[in-house]
């Protein structure tokens, strides 16, 4: 490919950079707002930077007004359980679909993929009634109920396990290993990157979820972090210094995970984008 002329190349770099800064700016604006005092927010002309970069009063106030630590804990717990359980059940199913022949295999797989088409909001009312019938409203199990396995996960794991050479499995079988032992000792270790992808993505999805927790959670101690964020807006006058501080607290954990696991997330995106 011909090298673009230097001027054109610099123009592309400049535009891409400008765009990246525009996209990044709202996050930066959130962070600096969380360090400002209410009078600073109302000052004209607007200043970009806070008076004091170490002003953490808003963060203290967030924890004083609401049990925000508890919210973070709830989200971490729910997201972890949902990520691990998805990884386990999806890998099991992915292995079954990739390496075994049994009657109904195609049908079952298409049925599962078909579930991707069912919007969660279409099943939320009956699901809510079931959860309330079992007395699970306002419990961790209730919040987790629809998030324990992901369809996307089954799809991802089948794809990953399909390319594992079947010879590995046969060899293990000849050595007398049981089917579960083969799954645990042979399959799982070889598809570790796919498992990591799934764990990260599912953790992120559950952490960021609003709709279902909103439906099943009533009492403040059971709130997850997205609900906690919303609770800072349920007033006539919104204190943005607090809202942004709470937003920073809710975003930081997921952002660090995101930055650490970015390689894997991009993989998942590319897969979902290309394979449908």
């Amino acid at each position: 490919m011909r090298r673009p002329p230097p001027l054109g190349r610099w123009l592309v770099v400049a535009l891409v950079t400008a765009g990246a800064l525009v996209v990044f700016f709202p996050l930066f604006w959130m962070a600096v707002t969380s360090l400002k005092t209410p009078p600073e927010l109302q000052r004209v002309p607007l200043r970009l930077e806070p008076d004091r970069w170490t002003n953490l009063d808003n963060y203290r106030e967030v924890f004083a007004r609401q049990p925000f630590g508890r919210f973070l804990f709830n989200s971490a717990l729910v997201a972890s359980v949902s990520a691990l359980s998805s990884a386990l059940v999806s890998s099991l199913a992915g292995y079954g679909f990739a390496k075994f022949h049994f009657p109904g295999r195609q049908l079952f797989f298409f049925a599962i993929v078909g579930i991707l088409m069912v919007p969660f909001q279409s099943v939320v009312v009956p699901l809510y009634l079931w959860v309330s019938r079992f007395g699970l409203l306002d419990t961790y199990l209730g919040i987790l109920a629809p998030d324990l396995v992901s369809v996307f996960g089954v799809f991802l794991m089948r794809q990953a396990i399909e390319v594992v050479p079947s010879d590995y499995i046969h060899a293990a079988r000849i050595d007398g290993a049981g089917e579960l032992a083969i799954f645990w000792r042979v399959i799982l270790p070889t598809v570790r990157p796919a498992v990591a992808t799934l764990v990260i993505i599912k953790f992120m999805w559950t952490w960021n979820e609003l709709f279902w927790p909103l439906v099943v959670v009533n009492s403040p101690p059971m709130k997850v972090v997205t609900l906690g964020l919303v609770s800072f807006t349920n007033m006539y006058f919104i204190e943005y210094n607090l809202v942004t501080a709470a937003a920073v607290l809710s975003i930081l954990p997921i952002l660090s995970i995101f930055l650490l696991g970015q390689k894997w997330i991009v993989r998942a995106v590319v897969m979902s984008g290309l394979k449908g």
Partner: protein, 295 residues
């Protein structure tokens, strides 16, 4: 004889491996979906009793102007956000693809991708602060060039475009990554061949790159359509459907109907409507995507 028992064992093992997932999905999706359809034929009276009313609730919902207003709002929001997201993502991906240094490409790519990790609630609140009519950054910037303050999320006309900007901000990185992966999978020889034939850059883009990105464009159109059709979090966190129902989306209305007014039958009609619409869209998608890419 021994071979058959081995096969039987294999069959059983395979079924047992997929069974947990199958059972779970049936319980959490299939059964409730059927229940949703059934519930849409029953009127639930406060107290728990329900009465079969046939298609009465469908008639009620489908002739309700509030419902159609919410459909219109949802489609308007979709029209504001989906095409803009895809076009911008394509431009950004083409730009990133031109960066020669892979290191910079991934660093800038990450910047565009960052908002994808932010919850929709947080994203909506960040933008609500930027849109604030009195102290917001946007009106301040406009005031510098002499434009009077706008009401943004509190205005009947501006609320949907304003929400669309939030959607674009959240989704841009995802779409860009998909396009970038598509661009990277196009063999460089195609461009060399085109160059030998004397094609200009513009011709390369129109005749080569865009047709080869067709699967990604279609895929993203569907994904954006589904994403925008199910819009809820952003609206709930900021406008709650207001002002005066101007940003009331279908899912927002479904939520209010079910969990604020407890009219479960009507909510089920909307649930069936959402499912049927997205199903139709997905089937159309399959028709298009089944066509292999012509290299």
């Amino acid at each position: 004889m021994r071979r058959r028992t081995y096969l039987d064992r294999q069959r059983r093992a395979g079924l047992l491996f997929v069974l947990p997932a199958l059972a779970y999905f049936s319980l959490v999706f299939l059964v409730p979906l059927v229940e949703s359809v059934i519930a849409s034929f029953y009127r639930t009276v406060p107290g728990g009793a329900s009465r079969f009313v046939g298609l009465r609730l469908y008639e009620k919902v489908l002739t309700d102007s509030t419902f159609w207003q919410s459909v219109r709002n949802t489609l308007t929001l979709l029209a504001w956000s989906a095409p803009a997201t895809i076009v911008l993502a394509l431009i950004v991906a083409l730009g990133l693809h031109r960066l020669v240094s892979l290191r910079w490409r991934s660093v800038w790519g990450a910047m565009y991708f960052l908002p994808f990790s932010v919850s929709l609630v947080a994203a909506a609140l960040i933008w609500q602060w930027i849109y604030d009519p009195v102290y917001g950054l946007l009106n301040y910037l406009l005031s510098l060039v002499g434009i009077p303050p706008q009401k943004w999320l509190q205005s009947l006309d501006q609320v949907l475009p304003a929400l669309a900007v939030t959607n674009i901000w959240v989704r841009l990185g995802f779409d860009t990554m998909v396009f970038l992966a598509g661009l990277q999978s196009i063999p460089g020889e195609y461009y060399e061949a085109a160059e030998i034939d004397g094609a200009t850059r513009w011709q390369c883009l129109r005749r080569l790159t865009l047709p080869l990105l067709n699967p990604q464009i279609l895929m993203l159109s569907i994904l954006e359509l589904i994403f925008n059709f199910k819009i809820f979090d952003q609206v709930y966190a900021t406008t709650q459907g207001g002002p005066a129902g101007a940003s009331q989306t279908v899912i927002m209305l479904l939520y209010d109907t079910a969990f604020k007014y407890f009219r479960l039958g009507e909510a089920s009609v909307m649930a069936v409507f959402v499912f049927a619409t997205l199903l139709a869209v997905t089937l159309v998608q399959w028709r298009f995507l089944r066509r292999p890419v012509e290299y």
